[in-house]
Subunit: 451 residues, 2 copies
């Protein structure tokens, strides 16, 4: 397949790369094998398979590094409660319903296509504790063509989980997680697209034997790990009181911090935590909208990058009430503005010489390259050797509606990241397969104004 | 006209009113003259003109109390800069272009229908300093049927405005504002729908004689007033240094704080300011998303309400990068969560006994009733005697997609407020006239998933 388009992407934090009028060649496996000048196509005898209009641009597919799939039906509710109440009153009762595999499949069939339509070509998912529902989520990703890491949630601690929604014990939890890894790896079509990930919920919900056993399971099966880390005052304090050290250090002690470990939130990291994560090749899924509700501090993105910690972005569905990862870029800039002026848990301005303000290209880098490097996947940029995971965005009057009279490429890119939503996405591809996109002729401003 | 529908609305902060299956009668002037039980319609010989499907509900039209119309083309850009730099580098050069009335009309023809499509049935607009462009904005509102207050911006202070974008002096500014009031009042069709409003930009941009003269102009013409108040550390300090008192007190000294005065932001109010605003019948346009970027503090919504200060919500286009007023409701809850945990300028938790956390019904109240009372307009609720300004929202599978299995009315309402966007709005009416809404058969999930 050949695609002619202008590419906007961010190879490094703060750097916008504009590649005008390129011709991409994609092989049968979905990998990009060549990127040439688009102009040559005109002389070719065979026109490209896809030729984007001049006001439609191509950006790398978005990598959402933190999604709780079972929480999809509660998106947007209960957000005036503290984390621990929200979990017990709303979230755990909902997640317990996924013992019903048919219910789970109805939810997955809505969630996965919706995220693809939002440009999320890769998602790092938490399932529930249920093996059939979790494997069905991986199946749904394969079916709809979404790149994904899918983890069965392990949790067994009687103090922080309800009696009807926890593993029977550490051994039962470890064995269930092991079976789910095998089942996901055995799915037809999963290879190279959908993989398992070891997923202890977070330290407060897990006993020490479960945590240690999951660390061993990850090492034995060559599986990466995701969990939550230092999300809120409550969680942070719970872990420090129980383990006598910070969340990051305690997880490391259980063998749960390694290359490409995805730690959600991590708003309470200190300098030693950052050094540890950098040394391990682990990193943080920064979920700025969710943090507004459930963290008592603002994640220090620039401090993390300066320390060599990997950083991606996450929606934290349903802790964050927006399915759009692109929207998280704006929230990340806003969070950094709050740090700059002395926000929650504030003493950051100038700390270690790091200016906390994040610009929109750095945020988009985290939503693409940063998330891919965090999760250990070869996506995030459109360049030779990587899979063709991409989103075509309409900047013209039928889409985002950039103002030619005032907008240059950097401004148009900032608008794209801040304002574009699924109705502006004409096409979404994963590994060269078109998996979503609006129908021809559909447009954002399809409202009828009776004037 | 008769409309059969279920109504969701918030007569008071924190109170959700569900009126299932009602029949509204609307007279030729667009006013609601009766609300009966919908069931009766089945026995009628004449069916209602509009019968909403069971999963489409009616909410009051949204009142956006702070919109800078000329900043529409820059929506979503420059948001990593402090206020004073953003104004000088981005905003004033753009606003200066509205000397070109043709450019202005192109922008208004895009802005007004887009806001209507977002459910904003009423907008309180800042124009630019230019009379023709400002009157053209009012004309555009009349043409598209949007309820509006439209103000020519007055600003003449050489220290905070560029030489090519300011009034020639106080007298010139006052006279231009006076002429714009007459011109807007004389527009055919404006009566009852579109009115002028006296609009000094803010104290730093205006000389004392201009401010005093505009106070006299408002009194002489019976016009309400809008301006900015205590938006940021920079503005707050500028005013205190120049006037020797707070922004609210200084504006009051110029005769600019009266019944239905709309003060944007007001994040730095103190107890005396709140008492003053309450005594005058004035209030605050709370713009929580904009405040993330340009204020150094979080507006204390509950403290304001407890003190009897009127409060509405505003997008602050383009200081806030989202045209949806509904989205501001979620941001208002988020801002209040940050206050609760000790956010920017924080010492609020428990101050004067006021718990800062705002729930979604209080936020929606501010977006409808609160804004209407702030601006002095008889909208915000669907009840007898008020204009039929309303939005029909699709909660079904072709729209928002509420989950019947888990959602009751309060949860469905929270989802509506947090998640519904223009593609879920099937109809928007102002004064009984259908002014926007998606075409029949169009739906939010119009993406083609190639599965």
């Amino acid at each position: 397949m050949r695609v002619r388009a202008t590419i906007l992407q961010t190879p490094r934090p703060g750097e916008l790369q504009v590649l005008e009028d390129r011709l991409l060649t994609i092989d049968g496996s979905g990998a990009i094998t060549a990127i040439g000048r688009g102009g040559r196509a005109e002389a070719d005898s065979v026109p490209p398979d896809v030729e984007l209009p001049p006001d439609v641009v191509l950006v790398p597919g978005l990598v959402d590094t933190h999604v709780h799939a079972p929480q999809w039906p509660q998106l947007g509710t209960g957000l005036d409660l503290p984390l621990e109440e929200w979990l017990l009153a709303h979230t755990f009762p909902l997640e317990a319903r996924y013992a019903d595999e048919a219910f789970a499949r109805r939810v997955w069939a809505d969630l996965v296509p919706t995220l693809l339509a939002n440009g999320t070509t890769t998602a790092v998912y938490y399932g529930s504790i249920h093996e059939p529902a979790t494997v069905a989520l991986a199946e749904t990703c394969v079916e709809h063509g979404q790149r994904a890491l899918v983890g069965r949630v392990a949790m067994d601690h009687p103090d922080a989980t309800p009696h009807d929604y926890r593993d029977a014990g550490p051994t039962a939890g470890i064995e269930a997680s092991a079976r789910s890894i095998e089942a996901i790896r055995a799915l037809p079509g999963a290879n190279g697209l959908v993989s398992p990930i070891v997923t202890p919920r977070f330290i407060p919900a897990c006993t020490d034997p479960l945590l240690a056993g999951l660390g061993e399971l990850a090492a034995a099966t060559g599986t990466t790990v995701q969990t939550h880390c230092s999300e809120s005052d409550w969680e942070h304090t719970n872990v420090v009181n129980r383990c006598g050290r910070t969340d990051a250090a305690a997880l490391d002690g259980f063998g749960l911090v390694g290359e490409h470990t995805v730690l959600a939130h991590a708003t309470h990291l200190d300098d030693r935590d950052r050094s540890l994560l950098a040394a391990r090749g682990a990193g943080v899924s920064h979920c700025p909208l969710s943090n507004v509700y459930f963290s008592e501090r603002v994640f220090e993105l620039r401090s993390a990058l300066a320390a060599g910690v990997r950083v991606g972005l996450g929606t934290d569905i349903a802790g964050g009430p927006d399915p759009s990862l692109l929207a998280q870029c704006g929230h990340a800039v806003g969070a950094s503005r709050q740090l700059a002026r002395g926000g929650p848990g504030a003493p950051v301005d100038g700390r270690a010489g790091v200016d906390p303000v994040v610009d929109i290209t750095t945020a988009f880098w985290a939503a693409t390259v940063g998330g891919a490097e965090l999760a250990g996947l070869p996506v995030g940029l459109l360049e030779v050797g990587r899979p063709f995971d991409a989103v075509a965005v309409d900047l013209g009057p039928s889409g985002l509606g950039v103002w030619d009279e005032v907008d240059d490429w950097p401004r148009a890119f900032e608008k794209l990241v801040r304002l574009a939503r699924l109705s502006d996405f004409t096409d979404v591809w994963v590994a060269g397969r078109r998996v979503a996109g609006r129908q021809a002729g559909e447009a954002r401003r399809r409202t009828s104004t009776v004037g």
